[in-house]
């Protein structure tokens, strides 16, 4: 409904701009108002997963390390440094000036408690799976030092520490022996640059600059997050000065309103990529056409991904030929590319024994225009596509039953600029997303997570990505772009990883 209403009304909105006064940002009261369609119900990122919550957690919480989105390096945050005692023992030194929003000082006990809580079975944290994979336990070794005992070699420790675990005071979730997983859901006590002033779940969150924050103070005093489910309403609020920032804006609408004096359109990169996954393993048909490498290569040649990126996604979207985002560590761009060439596709199909094409059931769950473009391109080379456009949940269920010959997938890597964030979940043998059935490839992908040597990791990913490309397990499509509409008074820097960092906004 959201997109339909806005598309229907785009001309009316534009007409309104002729009569309406320019939007007034709240520079005067130093309050930035932002809109989110997703209802904000829980402020504790240790118990949430969605992107909106990552955006909020960056303001209210801190982590041991920070990811520099420009250099992709992990820099000290609450930690001042780290040292590997051996492959499975990591010592972390902490700052001594980190304060919680209630004024108490963060200690080594707090850090150890947080990590040990997350991996406890009864924590049921959404981060348990990620951290439990590598952490055996965290041990306080001094007033400002914590030792992490790892279960195995794991090169992405700093990534997980930087992105997944928000630090809590010791006893937060089990004070007095009573487990309370919602302890921080509404009355959050974090250590970030903003503290919670008020919170009405599903309606409004008011954040106020935290003066005792140990890092660089944000420029804007107050940030108000409003839940506005309809994007048309968000636009109207932006035009009337009710909000200063909105995201996930459809490109056509962003361009239309951004061309008026009432709002600025910003388009930045996004780590999300789109791709077609092909049942090379033959789960749906042991001897079907997709089990033949030439057919899969033909599909790669048949897709005009450059036009899809340019006309259907727009902004900074780019075609890709790798099973990862080019900005991710290890995403070797020298692997086999299959340029758009319908004739080559037809020739490969004929060589594979399908001169008249074949019937293909293609599943998709988002970006219907892209799904239709893929179907049209495949039809043009003789592949008769039966497009199954369904809800994500239905696709997931069918995929779990190995009942999908091909599907258009997307992956955002959780904002992590490392090939590990996309490779493991799609090519290890314990995931139903892996339709390649390639054990050697799965071993390689896991091997890249068994060493701390970055050069070695890059080499392994290079080899794995070459296999994926040569075997055409995927038909990579394009990267996405992130579109924002902001008040003309607002300076909002965009980062290469596509994650909006509201704490970096300032007034012009």
């Amino acid at each position: 409904m959201k997109h339909m209403t806005t598309r229907v009304l785009a001309p009316a909105f534009l007409a309104a701009t002729l009569f309406a006064a320019p939007a007034m940002a709240d520079k005067a009261d130093d309050t930035m108002r932002v809109a989110m369609a997703e209802e904000i119900l829980n402020l504790d990122y240790n118990y949430t997963t969605k992107r909106e919550y990552i955006i909020l957690a960056q303001m209210t919480d801190t982590t041991l390390f920070d990811l520099d989105p420009r250099t992709q390096e992990y820099k000290p945050a609450v930690a001042t440094g780290y040292a590997f005692v051996d492959d499975k023992t990591l010592d972390i030194t902490l700052r001594d000036d980190v304060k919680f929003h209630d004024g108490s000082v963060l200690s080594a006990e707090d850090v150890a408690y947080t990590y040990n809580w997350i991996i406890r079975e009864d924590s049921e944290s959404n981060a348990s799976g990620t951290i439990g994979r590598w952490l055996d336990n965290a041990e306080v070794t001094g007033p400002n030092t914590v030792r992490f005992h790892l279960k195995s070699v794991y090169p992405l420790v700093l990534r997980d520490m930087a992105q997944r675990i928000m630090l809590r005071k010791a006893g937060t979730y089990d004070e007095g022996g009573t487990v309370d997983r919602d302890a921080m859901a509404q009355e959050l006590i974090g250590t970030g640059p903003y503290k919670v002033k008020s919170f009405e779940p599903g309606q409004e969150l008011v954040l106020e600059r935290f003066d005792d924050y140990f890092g660089e103070a944000p420029a804007i005093q107050t940030i108000v997050v409003r839940n506005l489910p309809d994007i048309g309403t968000q636009q109207a609020e932006l035009m009337s000065g009710g909000i200063d920032w909105m995201f996930k804006v459809p490109l056509d609408l962003a361009e239309s309103l951004g061309a008026t004096p009432m709002a600025s359109h910003l388009s930045g990169p996004d780590l999300r990529v789109a791709f077609v996954v092909l049942d090379a393993a033959g789960y749906t048909d042991a001897d079907g056409p997709l089990t033949k490498v030439k057919v899969r290569q033909a599909i790669n040649h048949a897709l005009n991904k450059a036009d899809m990126a340019k006309f259907l996604i727009g902004g900074s979207a780019e075609p890709i030929h790798t099973a990862c985002h080019p900005a991710q560590f290890g995403c070797d761009q020298s692997v086999q590319d299959y340029p758009y060439d319908p004739e080559a596709a037809k020739a490969l199909l004929a060589e594979a024994g399908y001169p008249d094409g074949f019937e293909l059931e293609l599943w998709a769950y988002r970006d219907k225009a892209v799904a239709e473009a893929v179907s049209a391109d495949l039809s043009a080379v003789g592949i008769k596509v039966n497009l199954r456009y369904v809800k994500l949940e239905s696709l997931n269920q069918a995929r779990a039953s190995q009942d999908i010959p091909a599907y258009i997938g997307t992956w955002g890597s959780g904002g992590t600029a490392d090939t590990a964030a996309i490779a493991r979940i799609h090519f290890s043998m314990d995931t139903d997303r892996n339709l390649s059935g390639d054990q050697a490839l799965a071993d390689e992908v896991l091997a890249a997570e068994q060493t701390n040597d970055q050069d070695e990791r890059a080499e392994i990913y290079s080899s794995a990505l070459s296999t994926i490309a040569d075997q055409a397990y995927w038909a990579p499509l394009f990267t996405y772009s992130a579109n924002y509409l902001v008040s003309p008074e607002l300076e909002f820097p965009l980062d290469p990883d596509g994650l909006p960092r509201l704490q970096n906004a300032s007034w012009k």
């Binding site: 829980n42 959404n126 489910p229 809800k391």
Partner: protein, 305 residues
């Protein structure tokens, strides 16, 4: 009468349970609540954790049975997202929706009855046609479209009302108009028909002979009788306003039951959806019952049994 009310009450419960049963199975077949809670990019581990946490790994009949047993004990369960009893959640939001529904009904009355009277007093003239045109247009225009047009006109171009929210009475003006507009045709046409019939009645002729004319005749003699069926229709319309508030509340970001219903359906928050369906069904049947009772009370010729 009491027996009739009890029977209708039982019917309401039967309707509510039937709808809830259908909704429960349809929602679970069409969606995976664990995936919806976890989000698009969640790993299987996270989805499995959530599935186990909420008992979503149990067979559907078992889960429905558990829900039913809970309901019979007055426990409608806990929202997957809000982590609080859904009964509490619904109670918190009900006030806003009731306010909106009553405001919308007032809008309907204020527009439809004068329009119906105008049409009835000038049958088959351009005024009649115009009134009909206005009424039909109000019904034909979708809520979401009218809502956004009203926002553009009266919150952006001429900013006299806020775009969204539910803090003050001013926040309810536009959504009440949007929600109320869809009921205008039914009420307007009923008013028109009723008035045309009444205006040719003997007692109106008598009133005219006594010197009553124009507004006085309309107010003191004609409308009173012509509006009897309208009142019962308004009761039904009030019930429909609750269900109809889903889109309106979402467009105007009003935190009522309608928006809660939409968000819960999109997020596969099944316990909340179940209770909302229950509430909507009960309200709808109750309003129909109220209409019947009002009809009987206002018109002695009608007896309900």
């Amino acid at each position: 009468m009491l027996k009739y009310i009890l029977l209708r009450g039982l019917l309401a419960l039967a309707v509510a349970f039937t709808v809830s049963l259908a909704a429960f199975f349809l929602l679970n077949i069409a969606t995976d609540p664990a995936q919806a809670i976890a989000g698009e990019d969640a790993t299987q581990e996270v989805v499995q954790t959530i599935r186990a946490r909420y008992g979503l790994d149990q067979p559907l009949p078992v889960r429905y049975g558990q829900w039913l047993v809970g309901v019979l004990q007055g426990d409608f369960g806990e929202s997957y997202y809000w982590h609080k009893p859904v009964a509490e959640l619904v109670a918190e939001r009900a006030g806003v929706t009731i306010t909106l529904a009553l405001a919308a009904l007032s809008v309907t009355i204020l527009i439809a009855i004068p329009l119906g009277a105008l049409a009835a007093l000038n049958p088959n003239t351009w005024l009649d046609r115009m009134a009909l045109g206005v009424a039909v247009s109000a019904q034909a225009v979708p809520n979401f479209w009218l809502g956004l047009i009203m926002i553009i006109l009266f919150a952006v171009m001429v900013p006299i009302f806020p775009v969204s929210g539910d803090d003050t009475w001013r926040h309810f003006v536009l959504p009440a108009f949007v929600l109320g507009a869809s009921s205008v045709p039914a009420v307007m046409r009923l008013t028109r028909t009723g008035l045309i019939e009444v205006m040719s009645a003997d007692y109106i002729r008598t009133a005219r002979s006594k010197g009553f004319r124009g507004g006085a005749l309309l107010r003191r003699h004609a409308l009173r009788n012509a509006l009897l069926p309208v009142i019962s229709v308004l009761a039904v319309q009030l019930g429909q306003k609750f269900g109809g508030s889903v889109i309106t509340e979402s467009i105007f970001a009003i935190n009522g039951l309608g928006r809660l219903a939409l968000e819960s359906i999109l997020g596969a928050d099944i316990p909340t959806v179940q209770m909302l369906i229950f509430v909507f069904a009960i309200v709808f049947v109750a309003m129909n019952l109220l209409a019947d009772i009002l009809n009987a009370a206002l018109d002695p010729r009608i007896r309900i049994s």
